[in-house]
Structures are given as C-alpha cells and as structure tokens.
C-alpha cells in the first residue's frame, strides 16, 4: 500500500508542479500561433507573481490580486505587440527587454515598498488561495484505488490546478473549432492571406496577445498566492522558458503541449522525491545532479528526439503590408 501512496503523491505533485507550465504553454500557443514569438512568458509570469502578491496583500483578496496581475500582464503583452507588431521590431529583442526589465523592476519595487529587495510580506489565509478539498474526500479515502484516485490525486489542489487543466480543452476548442481560431492559425501561417480576406492582421495579433496576457497571469498568481504565500526574487525560475520548450515540443498544439508540460512536471516531482534517497550501489546522488534532470530532458527532447517541430510559417516576421 505504501507503494501505491507513493505513486499517488508523485502524481499529485506532478499535477501541481505542471500547473504554471500549462498556463504558460497555452499562453504561448496563442501568441505564436498568431505569428508572434513570445520569449517573455518568463518575465510576465514573474511580474504576475509579484503583482498578485502585492495586490492581495493590500486589497486583502487573492482574486483581486489575480485581476491586477491579469491587467498588468495584458499591458505587457500589448507593449510587446506595440514594439514588434505595430513597429515591426525584432520580436526576440522585445521579449528579452521585457524579461530584463521585470527582473529589475520586481526587485526594486519590493525594496522600495517593503524594504526587502525582491521579497514581499507573507500573506495570511484570507489573502491567498487555499487548497480545495472536494466533497466526501475524507469519507472516500479508504476505498481502495478509487479512494486514492479521488481523495489523494484529484482532491486537495489549489483552484489554479483545476483551471489549468480545464483551460486545455478550452484552448483546443477555440483554436480548432471557432472562426477566431481559424483566423488565428491563418495569421501565423500566411498573414497576406488573412489581409486579402479582409481581416486586419494587426488586430488579430493584438487579440492573440491579449489572451496570452490573461493566461500567463494565472501562472504567476499560482506561484505567489497559492503554492507560496509571498513573492520572492526570480521565483519563476525558468518556468516560462520550460513552458515555451514544452509548447515547441508539443508542436504548438494544446494537447501535445499538455503532455510535454506533464512530462516536465513529472521529472521535477521525481527529482524532489529522489533527493536524499540512497540508491543501491550508487549511494546518494548529488542534489544538483537531480535538480538538473528537467533541464537536461528539455535539451534532449528539443535536440530532435521527437522529430522536427514545424513552427507556424510566418512566426517571427512582422507583417509589412506595403512594399
């Protein structure tokens, strides 16, 4: 039975750890399907974490913190759009600028407002999201298999975990079953075709970036107002980049991107679980080596382990209407 509960706790943490990756990957799908590269997922996630933490600290309600984070992230996405869509700047450079700006800005603002560089005050229970225990989860726990599945795996997560996994079918539906999705995919493949169909290419890209901003805000709020009870310096820790890798690995498709996110989440959960465990014949593995697993996996997967990833045809290219 101990083996089963080990597995259950591993799956449970996989779901939790993958959550920000899933939001970020879905955000990335919107931007990149529209033809705009988004390296700034990392920076926006960090900014969302900061704003959500500060917002709920002052306003006393984590939902209001989330709302503020959404507003700020949409603004950042618009900034990226202004530089790279309207003014046709280099999309990667624009993203790097946003990322660097935010690392500095969050640290400096925390220092100015709370006197500690890159740290916000700890949130109390009213100011943060709490784990949701599904009905009857205690009562059902002792039923074999089903009880474990329901009470130990499905129950007891933050609201973001459920939202993240609900967002995947929603994104799939929007991208593949609606006319907005058709236009979104078309604008990333051949913007001229969209323009000659009488649709404004720039408006489409801004809309995609706005959705991107909303989704990435959830990832940040999850970090600072759910899993943790404050913001700390560089707390996004490369998750934005990891999500981008997952999205590419998933070929810009919500379902496969989800699988990639779960895979990364799983290796992370595994490395936490493996820390300090003595392996027969080898002994204890250095913690740094274990922590490197998800990143090594990323490199290996992206280095062509999964075949050629075919990006949207027009990605990275600003649309120039007149010659």
């Amino acid at each position: 039975m101990e083996f089963l509960s080990d597995i259950a706790s591993l799956i449970n943490s996989t779901l939790r750890i993958s959550t920000p990756l899933v939001f970020a990957a879905m955000a990335g799908i919107f931007a990149e399907r529209s033809g705009v590269i988004d390296f700034s997922l990392e920076g926006k996630m960090l900014m969302a974490a900061f704003v959500a933490a500060v917002g709920s600290y002052y306003l006393g309600n984590p939902w209001l913190g989330l709302l503020l984070a959404i507003i700020v992230c949409v603004c950042l996405s618009m900034l990226h759009g202004f530089a790279s869509v309207t003014h046709k700047g280099d999309q990667v450079v624009s993203c790097v600028a946003i990322n660097i700006l935010i690392i500095g800005l969050t640290t400096a603002l925390a220092a100015a407002w709370f006197g500690q560089a890159g740290l916000t005050p700890t949130l109390n229970e009213d100011q943060r999201f709490l784990e949701i225990h599904l009905p009857f989860s205690d009562a059902l726990r002792d039923i074999p298999v089903i009880g474990t599945l329901y009470s130990d795996i499905l129950s007891g997560h933050y609201v973001f975990v459920y939202l993240a996994y609900l967002s995947v079918p929603l994104v799939f539906w929007i991208v593949f079953k609606t006319s907005f999705g058709l236009r979104l995919r078309a604008v990333g493949e051949n913007p001229s075709a969209v323009d000659t169909a009488g649709i404004n290419v720039f408006t489409m890209r801004y809309k995609a970036l706005a959705i991107n901003g909303v989704l990435i805000a959830f990832a940040g709020a999850h970090l600072s107002t759910a899993v943790n009870a404050n913001f700390f310096r560089e707390m996004s820790a490369g998750r934005g980049y990891l999500a981008l890798a997952a999205m590419i690995f998933g070929k810009w498709h919500p379902k496969t991107a989800l699988i990639a996110c779960l895979l990364f989440g799983f290796t992370d959960a595994l490395q936490i679980r493996l820390q300090g465990v003595e392996l027969p014949a080898i002994g204890e593995i250095p913690v740094q080596l274990i922590q490197a697993i998800p990143y090594v996996l990323t490199v290996v997967l992206l280095a062509g382990f999964v075949g050629k990833a075919i990006a949207p045809n027009a990605i990275g290219q600003p649309y120039i209407k007149e010659r």
Partner: protein, 506 residues
C-alpha cells in the same frame, strides 16, 4: 448609356519617392475580359491592389456601377463584388481548401451549420464551373493549377462580379493555361467581368476584348484588342519599336565539351531533386531545359556551377572530371576553367544588391589585375572599365556609382551578364535570364546569348518561359520531377508537345 462596372479616375499612388501610379484613368465594361499590359514595374499590380483595397491611393476616385466607393480594406472591395487572384497565391498551405475559402467569411463564431452550408454551396459552384476540387484536400498537396482554381473559387464564393487576375499564367504549363482560359471564358459568358494583368502579349491577343497599356506608372493607351497587334502593343509598352523574334544563324556544332553522367542532387531539405540526369552540350549549341518551376532545374544548375554538392554521378568539362560525390571544384576554379554562371535568382546569388554597380561589375575578378594590385583596389581602372562596359551593355542609367538595387531588373541582369561574358567562357550556364526583365532588355539579352553561341560557347539555358526556350535553343530537354522526360531537336516542336512532357503525362 450604361456606366462602366469599374471606373478609375486620376488615381495616384507613391511608395516613398517612387510614384507607382500617375493620374491613372481606366474604364472597364461589364461582361468583358479586359487586359492590362505593361512591363514589370509599370504599376499594373499596384493599381489593381488599390482596386482590391490592399493599398490606398493617395488621390483619385473609384466608381463601381457609377457609384463612388471608398475602399479602405480588401473587405470593402469584396463586399462590392471585387475579387482578386494574386500572383503569389494567398492561401494558407496547411489548411484545407474549405478552410481557405471560408477564412474571414465564416458567418458564425463556432463552426456548425454554416460550415455545412458553405460546403454544399461550394460543391454546387464546383459543379457549375467543372472545377473538380476536393474541398477537404490540403493546399500543400495540390498542384499550382489547382491552387489557382481554389483562388478563383474563393473569389466566386465571396460574390465576385469583377475578377482580377495578376499574371495568372506565369506558373502554369500550356495545358493548364488552356484550362484557365476556358474557365475565364465561361465566367465571362456568365456575365462576370474579368481583368487580366499580364506582360505576355499573346495572352492579350488570345483572350481579351479590350486592352489598356501601362508604362512607367502611367496609362499610355486603351484600345479594342481587334484593332491592335502584338507589335503595336509592344511598342506602346516599351515606348519604341521592338523585335519580337530572335534572328538566329544555322547551328555550327562543334565537339562535346560539357558532359553530365547519371547526376543526382539533393536540396537543403535532403530531398533528391535531380534524379539520374545525363546530358551533353556541344560547342556552338544552346541546350534548353524546359520545365515547370521546381522540377529540379534549380538544383541541377547549382550542382553544375559548383555551389551544390553532387550526390552521385559526375560532371565532365573538356573530358576532365570536374565533380563527383567526393570531389568538386568550387565556382572560382570552374571560372578559371572557362565556365560561367548566370544564376536564376538574380537578387540572392547574382548580385549584392546593396553594392554599387561598379563593385558588382567586377565581383569575382576584383582581386585580379587591372582591378587591383597588391590587394588594393584600383578605383580608377574599375570606374573606367565600368563606364565602358555599361555603355556596351546599354545599362541604364549609366552610372557606376549607383546602388545596384536601384537599377531595374533588366539592367541588373545586364550587369551580371556583362560580368559573366567578359572572359569569353567556353561553357555558360544560364537560369531564367529574362525573369522580371522588360521586353527591350529581353531582346538585348537574347541577342547576347546567340552571339556567344555563334562564337562557339556551349550554353545551357534553363527557363520556365517556353517561348524563350523555343526561340533560343538548338536542342530541348524537358525536366519533370528531377528526371529528363524528353529530348527534342528544336525543329517543328510545338509548345503543346513540350507542355505534355512538362506536366509529366506524356
């Protein structure tokens, strides 16, 4: 009197300093096929892009059925019954035919009933015009001819009454052109109005009832097609009389000097594009390669000129093996052996567009005397040489210090040609020598190639313009899917025969 279906008055349009359209007036009558002819860069496409709402005119008015309309985007034009088939198709390659057609006109937020209805309507349209298109096929799987039909279908579905086609035959085989013309005639019979933009005189004579001629951004004439001739139109286009035929002496064939044995070549994506090709060229002969774009001609020329690796087989020059899969001579070594190359992509491989004309004129010889001495360029010599050669090749304007990209396509091509012919090569590889080149320059370039042949050079000419192949070549081979599918002496060969070979059906 019935007002014309489309009337343009005093249209002006500039891009920066370049005025692409100057005071254009044009009337197009309902139910006609109206040709707009002019050389590359004459402003035809710009004008039609304005009518389609893609560009906005700086001034002027557009009337449809006598009513003035304001076209701010293609949507306005589409609503007013204007459809356009662009030279480069506006299709999303990994979408299906259906998705491409409904794009922007889905009629519903979530796909459902309307999608079904669109499908039924489109199937009916396909039947009416005999289009034979599978609506669920992915565009990337369709041939160019079918993609064009998808474009036409797209316009019809969106309710086009005026259909503008921009250089529609450039990428088609003669058979596909016949099919297209049949479709256009039946559309005309239905009462639709067709505007055909082209630089090919023969299409105007074949298809249109009225024609307007543009030159350097201006409208220089309107006439009924039956009242004019090819020669007269050509003169209006160029502004002086031109020779449409090439004068060619009887062939004086020498010995074989260039030989290709069982050559196979792969492209950058590792796909084999040239498959087991054998060919020989004699001194004093022009061998033409006919074929639809993308059937391996590009890769063949690149391998022969030493810029692409040979996968298998070998290439011989004067009986000496110059390339096989293990060894190959680079372009410079080939040049020293008497091989010259006029690449088909002028902008990418033939020139450095940001360089001045005199720099491009000596590029490749820049480290040789008299252009340089002890690694220092001799600008005086270079300028002197440039002045001389630009006069000889009639490069306009004759200013060696002008940036190359500011010359027209034809003059850029002359710059390349002068450089490559300068050393009197024994073997000359030429790709698409007159793509995007105006008629006046075509005449000049063709004459130069014939002169080289008469001087005893072996010339390999790859072109997608069948007329060019037929008028210049002594012998013709046809490439399809990387293979040579036919070889003919150029006597009594018709474009129909070649067309069947080009389509891979013969």
């Amino acid at each position: 009197m019935v007002s014309p279906i489309l009337e343009l008055t005093n249209i002006n349009k500039s891009f920066g300093h370049v005025q692409a359209n100057k005071n254009i007036n044009l009337k197009i009558n309902k139910g006609t096929i109206h040709g707009i002819i002019g050389e590359n860069g004459a402003g035809k496409s710009t004008l039609m892009s304005i009518v389609f709402g893609l560009y906005q005119a700086n001034s002027g008015s557009i009337k449809i059925n006598g009513k003035e309309i304001n076209l701010r985007s293609p949507r306005d034009s589409i609503i007013n019954g204007i459809g356009m088939v662009h030279q480069h198709f506006m299709l999303v390659e990994n979408f299906t035919v259906l998705e491409n057609i409904i794009l922007g006109f889905e009629g519903e937020t979530v796909f459902g009933e309307k999608l079904q209805k669109a499908k039924e309507d489109l199937e009916k349209l396909c039947q009416t015009y005999n289009f034979n298109i599978d609506l669920d096929a992915t565009i990337s799987d369709l041939s160019v001819g079918f993609r064009q039909r998808v474009e036409i279908l797209k316009s019809l579905y969106r309710g086009a009454e005026i259909l503008i086609l921009d250089e529609p035959t450039g990428v088609l085989t003669p058979q596909e052109v016949d099919e297209l013309f049949k479709i256009l005639r039946s559309l005309k019979d239905e009462g639709k109005t067709i505007v055909l933009i082209t630089h090919k005189l023969i299409e105007i004579m074949d298809l249109t009832s009225e024609v307007s001629v543009m030159r350097q951004g201006e409208m220089v004439g309107h006439t009924k097609t039956e009242d004019t001739s090819k020669e007269q139109l050509a003169e209006m286009m160029v502004g002086r009389s031109v020779l449409l035929r090439v004068d060619k002496k009887e062939i004086k064939k020498g010995e074989t000097i260039f030989k290709v044995n069982n050559l196979s070549v792969k492209d950058d994506l590792d796909v084999t594009r040239v498959k087991d090709v054998n060919l020989e060229i004699c001194s004093g002969e022009i061998l033409g390669i006919a074929g639809v774009t993308g059937n391996g001609q590009t890769e063949l020329l690149e391998a022969l000129s030493g810029i692409r690796k040979v996968e298998s087989g070998s290439i011989e020059l004067f009986g000496e093996k110059i390339s096989d899969q293990n060894n190959f001579l680079n372009p410079r070594m080939l040049k020293e052996k008497g091989l010259a190359h006029v690449p088909e992509d002028r902008q990418r491989m033939g020139l450095i567009s940001d360089f001045k004309a005199h720099e491009n004129l000596i590029f490749g010889y820049h480290d040789q005397e008299p252009y340089s001495k002890s690694a220092i360029l001799n600008n005086k010599e270079i300028t002197e040489y440039s002045n001389k050669v630009m006069q000889e090749y009639d490069v306009r304007p004759n200013s060696p210090n002008l940036i190359t990209s500011n010359f027209s396509g034809g003059n850029q091509q002359k710059i390349i040609l002068s450089r490559e012919l300068n050393e009197n090569p024994k073997v000359l590889l030429v790709g698409q020598p007159t793509r995007g080149v105006d008629i006046g320059a075509i005449e000049f370039i063709h004459q130069r190639l014939i002169d080289m042949r008469d001087k005893g050079a072996a010339i390999l000419l790859a072109s997608v313009e069948l007329d060019e192949i037929l008028s210049l070549s002594d012998r013709i081979i046809v490439m399809f899917d990387g293979k040579i599918v036919g070889e003919k002496e150029n006597k009594n060969v018709t474009d129909r025969e070649l067309g069947l070979l080009m389509a891979g059906v013969a």
